[in-house]
Symmetry: C2
């Protein structure tokens, strides 16, 4: 193939976006949604939201599940419900979606950024342990785009050091660790069901826990902190309620989730095979004992071996009408909004992954042909690396 960057026709006529959400058809929801519209019961924890909570609790295998308007609301409520002392430190991975850190800071807590494991890209338990001080109240770990963290090591660390353990599993619904679905680890765990996620409700999220007190507190916080004594509020809460129509989408998609995750694992395997042998690509390693739901397919680009930088590869793929993305760049410890915390720590693995990783699209309905065409593009970019480099790197100075 002639690369589009070098004058060829783009490999994809229609853009292959970074996500392609698979949603139910309206017919599947219509009777129940029409009834909700007619009755006016379209929110405030109506029957469909309650049904989704029950279905999710059963799926995950936890005693309690509370659905939310989105994952960030579930995260903020989870940490508020945990009643961590104001101003305490919470250790969290530097390389993950910024919302993880924000959930800590939104609660008046201090995020302490720890490094990630260089292969799984999830929180490195050893680095986290090194950051525990007398001010540490909790660890907030996270799967990385579906890849579970080292949950056993984290549970062991939390128990040994007397630190509480929570999970921001925004990307984790459908993933597994130790044979169990994510959602049941630590004291509590939350999911995002945003349209970009493997399991989605358009917008939505959920908190899962076996702790009845934490659950009850979170449901109060979801409803402005109201404690059931009329207008009285036990917490400075907010509105975290899910709409009934989002719950209906979730109820439609949950029975198919495991099959979706299986398909995504086949797609990931196909990616791995298709990219095999291309020099300079280091693939994100699936967590030992874990099953990832593969939100994206990700690898690191080594400039010397591949012949181009990560950003040059992305530019060449973009020209093919193929969304290749860099995520979490900059890392959370380098975000402008955390400047007030002082000089950010040096976190080599997180910074390396942030500056060398590429995410490729991985859909619930992706065909193997699509995967093959994507991997062919990556291979072609490598093969044409000299021409691509010449095209992208303009000479320094005139006449040089």
């Amino acid at each position: 193939m002639t690369l589009a960057l070098l004058g060829g026709r783009p490999a994809f006529d229609k853009k292959l976006d970074i996500v392609r959400p698979v949603l139910p058809r309206l017919e599947a929801l219509a009777p129940r949604f029409q009834e909700a519209l007619a009755s006016g019961q379209v929110t405030n924890m109506g029957p469909h939201s309650r049904a989704l909570e029950a279905a999710l609790a059963a799926y995950v295998g936890v005693k309690h599940c509370a659905v939310f308007c989105n994952g960030e609301a579930a995260l903020i409520a989870m940490l508020q419900a945990a009643r961590l002392p104001r101003g305490a430190e919470v250790i969290t991975p530097a390389y993950t979606f910024s919302g993880t850190a924000h959930g800590i800071a939104q609660n008046g807590l201090v995020p302490v950024f720890a490094d990630i494991h260089p292969e799984t890209w999830t929180l490195d338990p050893a680095d986290a342990e090194g950051r525990i001080t007398s001010r540490t109240a909790a660890i907030l770990a996270a799967p990385l785009y579906g890849n579970p963290a080292d949950n056993d090591a984290l549970a062991d660390l939390a128990a040994r050091r007397g630190v509480r353990l929570f999970f921001d599993s925004a990307s984790g619904c459908g993933s597994r660790y130790g044979g169990r679905p994510l959602g049941g680890f630590g004291e509590a765990e939350m999911f995002s069901f945003h349209a970009t996620k493997v399991y989605l409700t358009m917008e939505g999220g959920a908190l899962c826990t076996n702790d009845p007190a934490l659950f009850e507190a979170a449901t109060m916080i979801r409803n402005f902190g109201k404690n059931g004594r009329e207008a009285d509020c036990e917490f400075v809460g907010f509105n975290g309620k899910m709409t009934e129509v989002c719950a209906l989408v979730g109820l439609e998609l949950l029975p198919g989730l495991d099959a979706v995750v299986e398909h995504r694992n086949r797609v990931a395997e196909r990616y791995q095979q298709g990219l095999r042998g291309i020099p300079g690509l280091r693939h994100q390693r699936a967590q030992r004992g874990g099953v990832s739901s593969w939100l994206y397919y990700q690898f690191l680009v080594d400039e010397e071996a591949f012949g181009l930088t990560r950003d040059e590869l992305i530019m060449a793929l973009t020209a093919e009408n193929l969304a290749a993305r860099r995520f979490n760049f900059p890392c959370n410890h380098q975000l402008s909004c955390y400047r007030h915390l002082g000089t950010p720590p040096v976190l080599p693995a997180a910074e390396h992954v942030a500056s060398h990783s590429v995410a490729l699209p991985l859909y619930s309905d992706m065909t193997m042909d699509e995967v093959d065409r994507v991997t062919a593009c990556v291979r072609a970019v490598h093969e044409e690396r000299d021409a691509v480099r010449a095209r992208l790197r303009r000479p320094v100075g005139v006449g040089a």
Copy 2:
């Protein structure tokens, strides 16, 4: 009529609830919603959310409008976007929905509760002025269930004392002041579009402002604080995005809003007429220069003149299958979650209204016959006050 409490048949066979949301039929939304489901563009500020923002900005007459997942998210973002100094005081009415105070506290600011005007039940500008100190950063005023605050006096106060002015107009979309729709007062104003509101999107909210910097900041905060430089965040933001299906509901209902408000004013007038002459009822006064959207119909009950307490009237009406409610009881300055602020101030008007007010249902599709049947119930309760009192007040002590 024989009151249900005294053995009669309830006045309403089907419960007359406190709200009866009027939503579009699914057919009106179906083609656009189905297209959104098929394309996967169901959130993240898609075309329908953008269209709703433009329509609302035009309706309100402001330069900028940002829609949110709910009103509380819009409020939290509004105050965060205002960049008030952390720990500063914000003066706010004690008698209003608790979410108003929470929006302040969620931002690490201190709510300072002020009293309300005893007739309009909205923030008393004189009492607010008396609470201004060197720590005061802003006033957060609010219409009370559709009834506008004394916006002119508040604008004058803010200008004279160099204090910033914002409005939590959760209940205010469709109301007017000085001939203009609420939404364009103070530095910024937000709405709730919750299913219980006069204008509704199932769940939703919006921020209206003429300040481009505040608007831009609020839209960043709505999207995790992202400032457009890839993953970098200028603010510790959250997810405040509205779903496309909620925006579609809003687009359907906005053209009819003024007619809805006119009808609700006719219903309120009918209530006033129907309750005329019943001793001991003091009706909430519409703000001078304002048009209320009448979320509920409200009055105070004077026990001596009416012959029963507020709570006894509510019990008698509840028996008629008619939702009569007390709201904001306790007041915000008395909420458990604000205990840490120290001994609450004594705010006579707010406390009196909280302990003497009744809210009656007022729907966008309420018939005059329904109103007449409700007012007949109130009148009958007054007429049978002695029997009701005897029924509800059990003798103190045995044989007394």
